[in-house]
């Protein structure tokens, strides 16, 4: 039986990061951790903040307007993911978990004036050649209507869980690590972009906000939040998308700050394939596919 936890305020990310980090150290010392994922759904209903949406839209390259991008709904559901993953009965600490793919569907345009009921829960764990994949399944409802659904896959290296499914699942993200798409458009990411994005998104992970934070995790400098790049790609294509769309993303290589990257997209049928690459080199940072949304799944 799924436990349903209804929050009455947004979870605070910073305390969760700290407590999760402490718990991770304790677990490493004792070698003990919970053996399964908690069967829990975290739910939070709230109205959206117009000013924050505008700041988000501007920072990610969207037009400032009443309809919110699908990635913005993810940003609002993100604290719920953190709440789940940092819970004492969750098996893995947040530090070191890597966001590898994302898939989200916007079933209909959502206005900034609409109150959203957001939820997040674990999907079944999946195998990965380097560890275990945790799927965080999020949904956004307006009243009882499902308007958005997203699945974020996080890799926990060197770990396993009982009952893991094979990595490839029907309806999952099937993106190659690279695609043959010309990338000529240049995006210049300033040194403080991670801090700016942290302010509008709440993703304060120090790996994104300071060079020191980046170094602590083995990078020469800070790296941009993958969700910024995700949103920037959506922003570039949004004027050409249908009202309801599905966007799949594979994060292949972090982007250091500051840096310049190249973006390109190609339309094949009704499906866009997009890529973000290094400015000077040929390595790929992100691959995305966007197409019209499937119909809303039947709600039991």
């Amino acid at each position: 039986m799924t436990e349903r936890v209804v929050l009455d305020a947004a979870p605070q990310l910073a305390p969760m990061l700290v407590s999760s980090m402490v718990r991770g150290l304790v677990r490493r010392a004792t070698g003990r951790r919970p053996g399964t994922l908690p069967d829990r759904e975290v739910v939070w209903t709230h109205g959206q903040d117009v000013d924050r949406v505008a700041a988000y839209q501007r920072l990610c390259g969207f037009a400032v307007r009443d309809l919110v991008p699908a990635t913005w709904i993810h940003v609002q559901a993100f604290p719920l993911q953190m709440e789940l993953m940092s819970a004492p009965d969750s098996p893995f600490a947040l530090a070191g978990i890597v966001h590898v793919t994302n898939s989200m569907t916007l079933y209909r345009p959502v206005s900034v004036r609409e109150e959203l009921t957001l939820s997040s829960s674990y999907g079944p764990p999946r195998e990965h050649r380097r560890g275990v994949l945790l799927d965080l399944v999020g949904e956004a409802h307006v009243g009882t209507e499902l308007v958005w659904r997203g699945v974020s896959a996080y890799l926990v290296r060197g770990e396993t869980l009982p009952g893991m499914l094979p990595e490839a699942q029907p309806g999952g993200v099937h993106l190659p690590p690279d695609v043959e798409v010309d990338a000529d458009t240049v995006w210049r990411l300033r040194a403080d972009l991670g801090r700016q994005y942290a302010r509008v998104s709440g993703d304060m992970n120090p790996i994104h906000t300071s060079a020191l934070g980046g170094k602590a995790f083995g990078f020469p400098r800070a790296i941009i939040q993958g969700m910024w790049t995700h949103a920037r790609v959506l922003a570039a294509l949004e004027p050409r998308l249908p009202d309801a769309y599905r966007m799949d993303v594979r994060f292949t290589k972090p982007i250091l700050l500051p840096s310049s990257v190249r973006f390109g997209a190609h339309l094949d049928g009704d499906s866009w394939t997009a890529v973000v690459r290094e400015r000077a080199g040929s390595k790929t940072h992100l691959v995305a596919r966007i197409s019209g949304a499937d119909r809303v799944p039947n709600v039991p």
Binding site: D182, D184, T185, W187, R188, A236, S260
Partner: protein, 430 residues
């Protein structure tokens, strides 16, 4: 309603000067005023009310929200002359000509002036978004603490100013970088580009020495002739220049075959043909028709500066003409490679069929009829002033030629512009 014909009566511009040089103390308003005064002197317009003056600038100060009207008020024209600002990047001057000629053809006015000015030397410098938003918030704050809180959000990084960019906001590429992609795609060689640049300099120098510009240019601030023209340049000198755009084998674009930064202003006087005749004004050429187009350069993979290749076939079809039916071709030389890629594209079967949806390629043109009195590579390219320079030049060329095989001499103007846009127009000799 009777039919009206819009004709070019004449033009006037100030010599185009290298940026940060002779005109560095002049503003867009100053230069546009000087161009208007020269035109007024030439056609006896001092104290006269003209139908409308239409112009603009690409690098525009926010205080110049009424740039053209301010220039009118500072000129010898009757202050009852209305004005309108219009801007379409480098096509500003030509779009202004189209606007004025359309009003004349509709009978809404009997005469009008079209043009533009641009100063790189006196360009606006914006404060950063962070500082601007903080200052706006402080200005809007109703209490002292709220004002202080707004000002406290200013960070040292906010104090770095934003110079005006010539990069496309949606692609992050400068115009030169965009053209370098096009140059590569179309396989335009360094040699072809340098030859076109050489011809531009030689043609413009010849036109100056023949006195062609004597009634098209008024000296300004001690400058009597376009500063960019180098009649003595050679193919060897051009070949020795280092590439500034493109990489590796694609690095073929130099300061010699790309336009640099210039200051200047140009205007064209247009009138109803009957009005011109009644008032003993010259009529150089008739504005026949015009077309604008745009390309999908952001993610559609199209060439930023080849929008005219879309406009030209549509304009030709509407007027029952072929690409070969012109005695003069004025194709704006943003870069030598832009002109060459435009000509190549229109002669390319695949491009014409698949991109433009035409039954076949438009074909080649007589290169001897191209930019016969030089163009932007030699004259310089103060963005919004270029349209006025080209329209006035072509109108005079057509008038001098008169008729060809018993029909009026015919010319076409093509100008590419930032934002993946292009404007083209057909003129016929009067």
């Amino acid at each position: 309603m009777t039919d009206h014909t819009a004709v070019v009566v004449g033009g006037n511009r100030i010599p185009f000067a290298r940026a940060h040089g002779a005109y560095s103390r002049a503003s867009n308003v100053d230069m546009l005023t000087a161009a208007l005064d020269g035109l007024a002197a030439r056609f006896g317009l001092a104290g006269r009310r003209v139908g409308e003056v239409v112009g603009g600038a690409v690098f525009k100060h926010s205080r110049d929200f009424n740039l053209t009207r301010e220039a009118v008020l500072g000129s010898s024209l009757d202050p009852h002359t209305p004005a309108c600002d219009l801007q379409q990047a480098c096509a500003t001057g030509l779009e202004a000509t189209i606007y004025v000629s359309n009003k004349i053809r509709l009978g809404q006015m009997v005469d009008g002036i079209a043009g533009g000015a641009d100063s790189v030397s006196d360009s606006p410098m914006a404060i950063s978004d962070g500082l601007r938003r903080a200052l706006l918030a402080a200005n809007a704050a109703k209490t002292v603490p709220a004002r202080l809180a707004a000002l406290a959000s200013i960070r040292p990084g906010h104090l770095v100013p934003d110079p005006p960019g010539i990069t496309e906001p949606r692609t992050g590429l400068s115009m030169g970088e965009h053209q370098a992609l096009t140059t590569m795609r179309w396989g335009i060689t360094r040699g072809e580009q340098d030859e076109l640049a050489l011809a531009s300099h030689q043609n413009l120098a010849r036109a100056w020495s023949e006195g062609f510009f004597d009634d098209l240019v008024t000296p300004y601030l001690g400058v009597t002739k376009d500063q960019g023209v180098r009649g003595d340049t050679t193919i060897e000198k051009l070949a020795a220049l280092k590439a500034v755009f493109g990489r590796g084998e694609g690095a073929t674009m130099t300061a010699g075959n790309s336009t640099g930064f210039f200051d200047g202003a140009a205007v064209t006087y247009l009138a109803d043909a009957d009005y011109a005749a009644e008032h003993h004004l010259p009529a150089l050429a008739r504005v026949v028709d015009a077309e604008v187009a745009a390309v999908d350069y952001t993610i559609g993979g199209e060439d930023l500066l080849l929008a005219p290749t879309y406009a030209i076939p549509r304009l030709l079809a509407r007027n029952g003409l072929t690409w070969q039916d012109f005695d003069y071709y004025e194709i704006h030389e943003a870069f030598a490679a832009t002109v060459l890629a435009t000509l190549d594209a229109l002669a390319d079967e695949t491009y014409c069929r698949e991109r433009l949806g035409l039954p076949e390629a438009l074909g080649e043109i007589d290169r001897g009829a191209l930019n016969v009195n030089g163009s932007s590579l030699a004259a310089g390219h103060p963005f919004a002033a270029t349209g006025g320079r080209i329209v006035s030049t072509l109108a005079k060329l057509l008038h001098q030629r008169g008729t060809v095989d018993g029909r009026p001499a015919r010319g076409i103007v093509s100008i590419c512009a930032a934002g993946g846009q292009g404007a083209v127009a057909i003129l016929e000799a009067c």
